[in-house]
């Protein structure tokens, strides 16, 4: 079976939670939600996942489906407490992201009177500073991958370093997944590095869609293809209505 770009993104998102064990996999965005549930279905069965609301489901459920049997209750207040507790790895979205992983979901332009008011910081400051965070960005471009974000909602590595290693010991950005590739911050000065490009994507395309200097170490591998079993789970179990294709076009 050959995978669509959306399906490659789903498995690339799933990989973010590899090795996490029994923690909450929280996710924003279709491919990210599917990734969390796919990871739980396959290589990371200890993960806890939700119905998209306040219920921890006994099994990973299809996107948009009722919770069915539940194994726990996680209303918003408990999410906010869990962030501080740390047994949580969240995959957030970002309207802007810079090379240190600072992100903005609050407002574009001067904060005092923005040209475009977005959501507000939501939980991004606490999420990034208190539990492991990754990002899912469905459409990479120079408008999103910017030299400097207009408002730091999610905390990047330079901001965390300013506060010192002790204060920022719970800060950690694991990876960034986009429609073009996978990135991490595994460089000595914790700036963004290209980990892999999705099949069919050239490194030059990624560079062209990035508004800052991206670290590229030698030959960049391809993002892995989903296995046949993963494709079956995505197509037949988790997302039979193909909502993923609305987020990432083929």
């Amino acid at each position: 079976m050959s995978a669509t770009c959306a399906e490659i993104c789903v498995t690339a998102c799933a990989e973010a939670w590899r090795g996490d064990g029994e923690i909450l996999a929280a996710a924003m965005g279709t491919c990210s939600i599917l990734g969390a549930r796919l990871a739980r279905h396959t290589f990371e069965p200890g993960l806890l996942t939700t119905d998209g609301g306040a219920l921890l489901t006994a099994e990973p459920v299809p996107i948009g489906a009722p919770a069915g049997p539940v194994e726990g209750w996680m209303p918003f207040r408990d999410h906010l407490w869990l962030v501080q507790n740390g047994r949580r790895h969240v995959m957030l979205g970002a309207s802007q992201i810079d090379r240190y992983g600072n992100t903005n979901i609050s407002a574009i332009g001067a904060w005092e009177r923005p040209t475009s008011q977005l959501l507000g910081v939501r939980g991004a400051p606490g999420n990034t500073f208190c539990n492991t965070t990754s990002y899912w960005i469905p459409k990479q471009s120079r408008r999103v991958f910017v030299p400097k974000v207009d408002m730091v909602s999610g905390v990047g590595y330079d901001r965390a370093a300013e506060l010192g290693p002790e204060a920022s010991r719970f800060h950690g950005l694991r990876r960034v997944v986009t429609d073009l590739g996978v990135f991490d911050f595994g460089t000595p000065d914790r700036v963004m590095r290209l980990v892999s490009v999705h099949p069919g994507v050239e490194v030059e395309q990624v560079v062209a869609a990035t508004g800052f200097d991206l670290v590229i170490d030698g030959d960049v591998p391809e993002t892995r293809q989903p296995t046949d079993e993963e494709l079956r789970l995505i197509r037949e179990v988790l997302d039979p209505r193909s909502l993923r294709d609305l987020e990432v076009r083929a």
Binding site: P75, Q84, W111, G120, R122, P125, M151, S153
Partner: protein, 288 residues
């Protein structure tokens, strides 16, 4: 009480906390009544949705204190965006968890509570009045001192309440409504259905708001409309889309306000029923 009596007891310049979360279980009947009222210069404290948007549209708001304003299935709130982009309101923007700690501080009569949420982010830059606090213990760690979000009044919408003012939620999430009630000098509870004392059915854990916090209770059937108010009413997605489309265009908004917001709550509910009938009629005609 009646809706008008609740809103009549409020004063311009007050700090008002509004319950629910985004587009979920908002006390919209009370919000609509404030929209129609002569109140102004309000500070609104909210995990914001159309409550914030409507009050901004009506020019009732001096300041919004919120971690976000969203309609959930419609990510951005058009009236709030316009108010921010026109510089019409002040905005105090906190992290969600920091905001909750502010409510908890107020609920427990503390000036602040320490948290890591906010450190390193521009929440500290855009709120220069925020202070940090150092642990007095050996770790000496520094935290954000989330200031108490003390409210003059809290408005919350419950699925059920009794005539004494005990409030019950029957959906999956209490949101922060009990914290808002405790953070406020007085709390007003609107409810889908009002029952006699002792007649609130369901597990005791669903009894969220105690009458000791409640200054008044008012029955507002479908008063959470168009926000999600399960199990009685899901979010009215079609109407919310109509709201969001109208709110993004001044002419369309004038027509929306004229049709839905010019009269009282009964008139609003009737107008919504008629709007849905028209939609069904149009669908049937298109299908022909």
């Amino acid at each position: 009480m009646t809706i008008e009596e609740v809103v009549g007891s409020l004063e311009s310049g007050m700090t008002i906390g509004i319950g629910g979360w985004g587009a979920r279980r908002k006390p919209m009947a009370l919000v609509r009544a404030i929209y129609r009222s002569p109140l102004e210069d309000l500070t609104i404290v909210s995990y914001g949705g159309a409550d914030v948007g409507l009050l901004c549209a009506a020019g009732k708001v001096r300041k919004v204190i919120a971690p976000f304003v969203t309609l959930d299935s419609v990510p951005l709130e058009p009236h709030f965006r316009a108010a921010r982009q026109n510089g019409a309101i002040e905005f105090t923007e906190y992290d969600e968890g920091m905001f909750m700690f502010g409510l908890l501080a107020a609920a427990h009569r503390l000036p602040f509570l320490p948290t890591r949420a906010g450190l390193g982010s521009d929440v500290m830059r855009v709120n220069p009045e925020l202070r940090t606090v150092r642990s007095p213990y050996d770790d000496q760690e520094e935290f954000v001192a989330a200031p108490a979000l003390t409210l003059d009044v809290a408005l919350v919408h419950m699925d059920r309440a009794d005539t004494r003012g005990n409030g019950q939620y029957l959906g999956p999430d209490p949101y922060m409504d009990d914290m808002l009630a405790k953070a406020a000098g007085r709390c007003y509870v609107s409810c889908e259905r009002l029952v006699e004392p002792g007649k609130l059915e369901g597990p005791p854990q669903t009894l969220l708001i105690s009458r000791m916090y409640t200054a008044g209770v008012v029955e507002t059937p479908n008063g959470g409309h168009f926000t999600d108010c399960g199990p009685d009413h899901g979010r009215d997605e079609a109407f919310q889309r109509h709201y969001a489309r109208s709110a993004a265009d001044p002419e369309a908004w004038a027509a929306f306000a004229d049709r839905f917001l010019a009269g009282d709550e009964t008139a609003y509910q009737e107008a919504v029923v008629r709007w849905h009938e028209e939609q069904h009629q149009e669908q049937r005609e298109r299908a022909r």
